[in-house]
Symmetry: C2
Subunit: 344 residues, 2 copies
């Protein structure tokens, strides 16, 4: 397997990205390679500083870069030789089998959609993020690839995220919840009500019904389906709150037990480590004909290494083949009319 990594993407690029590619060696099988895509001199500079072996790493030079906050689609057009665009083309042409980036998320999504196309039967790709919680991990899909969701899109997120959770988390029969604002059938909005019918009708899915925001922490579902706007708000909120509340608790405790500062800080670090996104190594863009892993912008080398692990597991479990099978089976079952009407 050949895994492309965007060496220029992310707040800590290229140093931490290159380091991640180097230490990911331990995850590779014989013959596996990592291809770092970006400015060759900068990548070589980082590799030269490494004390670890780098014989599993190749470089593909590109002479353009796309910044974290640039408008995705326009920038991809203006910079066709940026690392994100080149990597997607390499994937399309079979030079690599997966691509990873901690760079501009919108550009990664746009490049994958434009270059890789969609899996057969998939309407819209969606990003699935594994959210660590004290009650266990939950895959939230979509978290921002698609802000114009129709019921059929959300239904397919349920299918795709279920397969992903089986691949990554080893969950045999993932429980799928539909994010809404009340558990009763009548609550929610029109999108939720129609999606509910589709999810219910698919006997391959273990649909547990509507869930509320708090259920992300209740341990009642393994997959939470929502449209991209809501999912992105949820994701950013959790991140902001974890930092803010965590710091407030530590501050309060240090005030009460100043003599135990080292022990408190150690416990806090251990806890925060459990909820560190770097442990989960990036989120796949589900539904594209390929493997596109999007990493957190602040990923360090462990985040990149764990994203390589995700790409490997994604390939080994044949996530894409299973998604295509399940989507075609779901269609065959005679799903409600709203599926076909929203099939645009």
């Amino acid at each position: 397997m050949r895994i492309g990594i965007d060496a220029m993407g992310g707040d800590l690029a290229p140093a931490e990205v290159v380091k991640g590619a180097v230490v990911a060696r331990e995850l590779l099988a014989k013959g596996d390679k990592i291809v770092l895509v970006g400015l060759q001199p900068m990548i070589e500079d980082c590799l030269n500083k490494s004390a670890d072996p780098t014989d599993h790493v190749e470089i593909r030079h590109t002479d353009q870069t796309l910044g974290m906050d640039e408008p995705p689609v326009e920038s991809l057009r203006a910079k066709p030789r940026c690392s994100i665009a080149v990597m997607a083309e390499m994937h399309r042409d079979g030079e690599i089998d997966a691509c990873l980036s901690a760079g501009n998320t919108g550009a990664c999504v746009a490049a994958a959609q434009m270059r890789l196309r969609r899996l057969r039967g998939v309407h819209r790709p969606g990003i699935a993020v594994i959210t660590p919680t004290p009650a266990g991990p939950v895959a939230v899909c979509d978290v921002g690839a698609n802000v114009n969701c129709r019921p059929a899109h959300l239904y397919q997120y349920g299918i795709m995220a279920s397969v992903y959770v089986q691949a990554i988390g080893g969950v045999k029969k993932p429980r799928v919840g539909l994010l809404s604002i009340g558990e009763e059938e009548a609550k929610g909005n029109a999108l939720v009500r129609e999606t509910r019918d589709l999810l219910k009708a698919d006997k391959n899915l273990h649909f547990v019904g509507n869930v509320e925001g708090r259920d992300l922490f209740s341990g009642d579902c393994d997959v939470m389906v929502c449209e991209g706007f809501v999912g992105n708000v949820v994701l950013k909120l959790i991140e902001g709150m974890a930092i803010s509340v965590g710091e407030a608790i530590i501050r309060e405790l240090l005030g009460g037990l100043p003599e135990h500062a080292p022990a408190i800080q150690k416990a806090a670090r251990q806890l925060m480590g459990k909820y560190d996104y770097n442990e989960y190594g990036g989120a796949p863009l589900l539904g594209v004909a390929g493997i596109s892993i999007i990493c957190h912008g602040a990923s360090n080398h462990r985040g990149i290494m764990n994203a390589v692990r995700v790409a490997k597991e994604f390939a080994n479990f044949q996530v894409n083949q299973k998604i295509v099978e399940l989507i075609s089976q779901g269609e065959g079952q005679g799903t409600p009319a709203s599926y076909r009407s929203s099939n645009a």
Copy 2:
């Protein structure tokens, strides 16, 4: 001022609700009264157990109750003599000047909309919840009254929540943020983009632009405008996460410092107290021609007492008059066409 309280609403009703009405005596001016609405024998039973004076309390008997999980509109039709319906009618008829309930939120919203009507110029009422965060309180509006928002509705939530924050928090020029999924103008969805133009155009508002989920904890805004579905997800998520993460941190610390369990638990209690919704005493349904305060279903007597405080401040600051003025001024300024087109 006469304040109606739904004695039958909430997980801890009627005991904690009645106790809240009794201890709220200290907040009242001469001549102020509290009218407890509900089953007279149960209310009298609670009052008889009180050691505190109760001469500020009256009772209005009703013989029907509406449960927390009953479908709101249908149940209000089937139970016209339930406490929520009767209280809204008393408010409409001038028998009381405000109504408070910790009962079925949907029923409170529906009863207020049906009986009280809307303030002049207001398109849709919205619930504004003050969310305590380590960086300061933020009023989130709407959190579930309206799941079919148009740009004009969101724009008015910005106006109404600003007035409310001035009344309750004493914030002179509240900073209004529009919840979206990226700070750039182009990001978000169509609803957000159109709302942004309306908020920007109103010179009476201190609009600080789009904000993301994490900004609820950044201290960058006093008001966060969002549609009801998203707002409700946010609210439930925060509640679930605060409990879940708080407990996980305490657990981790107790593991590391078992000999300091009492001090750790004390610090945790103090901290949790700062973020206790009971301190904020309920959320107003902004935009109705009256004062309707919706309390958390798990409110204790402090929550009810603080909701009485909110009702008093709401009246003293003349929130409704100011909302009507600002909305009429906003219309006079020549707001964009999307305001009038969505004015339905």
